[in-house]
Symmetry: C2
Subunit: 336 residues, 2 copies
Amino acid sequence: MGGGMARVLASRDGVKITGAISRTTMVGEDLGEGLGLKPLGVTVSNDAGATLAEARPDLTVIATSSFISDVAEQIYAAVDFGSNVISIAEEMAYPAASSPEVAGEMDRRAKERGVSILGTGINPGFILDALIIALTGACTEVKSIRAERVNDLSPFGPTVMRTQGVGTTPEEFEAGLEDGTVVGHVGFNESMHLIASALGWHLDRVEQTRTPIVAGETREGQSITVPAGRVAGCHHSARGYVGGEEVITLEHPQQVNPGAARVETGDYIEISGTPGLSLAIQPEIPGGVGTIALAVNMVAPLVAASPGLKTMADLPLPRALLGNVREMTDQLKDVR
Amino acid sequence: MGGGMARVLASRDGVKITGAISRTTMVGEDLGEGLGLKPLGVTVSNDAGATLAEARPDLTVIATSSFISDVAEQIYAAVDFGSNVISIAEEMAYPAASSPEVAGEMDRRAKERGVSILGTGINPGFILDALIIALTGACTEVKSIRAERVNDLSPFGPTVMRTQGVGTTPEEFEAGLEDGTVVGHVGFNESMHLIASALGWHLDRVEQTRTPIVAGETREGQSITVPAGRVAGCHHSARGYVGGEEVITLEHPQQVNPGAARVETGDYIEISGTPGLSLAIQPEIPGGVGTIALAVNMVAPLVAASPGLKTMADLPLPRALLGNVREMTDQLKDVR
């Protein structure tokens, strides 16, 4: 993901890449050459502190882990050098959901250094939260929200297969849920609280369920072949309650080759309210390039924002940055 | 439209209606009683200056006309009393498109009085611009955009029928285009420039075409019956060019009872780019309640904003204001 973002950023007017940090991949290589582009004059380093000290970036994009416990120190390192930060860690989409104290500390440290911090991505960060929020803007009343993201895990590698329990028996899947090796989707808690806080709802509780999607036929993926009877994916769903009523339902069945079972992929949002709304994006917005796009495109709105920890609901509309990014940032600063 | 907005605002926590201005309807009546609600203690007046002086609103919603030439003085009157303004005049969605000098003057006067001004609505303001902009946030590249809003004019009254040429012969329709009585959709120029400015595109030109939709069968509307051979509506389309290439195409066929011709209504957005995206909202978001919702829901983001003339691309995501509007405004101020 970091490489994908670097490739897009390198192609943008008004952006200069001043440093690149990696634990192992491409270390010592020129970033551009490592990405198959022309040389960028930036050597990939595994020394984060030295790179930040020399690069002095206006903004740092971090693509390392899903969890705040892993990325908080990486974020602080950039913030302490006066850099704005965009993270694609799922828990960063609404840090207060899992880690209210860390969220407070991030906000405090960002304000102290005059920079801002944002978690974004396709999901959480867009499909199952920001896009839903924006749609409710056309409603005078919202009774309940139901959304579903049906995607295809076929292109992904072994790590994703393991965390979704792909290839296991149904019994192994259940055991994996118990011992934490099968995770499903990370981000429902964040999407729920992002939606609720934006709409002025106070959630009583969020419930989550993960059930195995058992293949009825052979499912071919790029890194795995799932025989019939084995687990092809994880159907993860979440329900958010206000005053005892289920008001937000989010469904995310992720599986290898859903087409084999004649399941069509797509992103779907249904709002019960005034007016009722039914939206479909078919096929689904692809997760990899979608997350890269959001991270890269939120650069201008985030750098233009006031200091502090932000969410997608705090900033101006996301947009593709097709012009000079520096000029677009200045324009957004003018109207902030 | 003003009555619809007042009805929704009267139902919101943290909102107090302090005045109501109307040219003729309900003048002298209690606003609540006039709307069929319980009395609100606000007498509808046709004296705008006296009402503003007494009501001293934080925000004024104006629903009077489509054109800046009609609403500019009404907006200034509110701004001069220190009120923020939301207008549903179509030209106000991006005032610089039709009236760059007035836009500059509005921005200057708003900043002078420390208030902000926004034009919004379902279209322009949301479907064919803000929603498109937000979707491009999930794209790393955008080659072109095609969007279409297919709606049903059946519920509308004689004014809309006249401006869309409904009931005319094809020859009368063409004559109406010539003499300005058939207008079609007001807002394409605004949507085009709103999209382009948000994405960093510089439009060479915008072309518009209006063609009659001739009924092949009888079309029944609430205020009119269109016999076969007469005009059932206006297909208005617009094309925006960058570097000689058509990059934005917006289509808006508006007609009475499209179902009679087996035309399904809906809002559709197609983005050619990386990734390509295809979105459908079926049926279309209804125009009346959708515009009321956006005007009422942008209250919190607008009052929280810095002074000046704003567009939907400058402000945080629209959202339904389901909590206390004053508290939601303060929250948005904190993260601005």
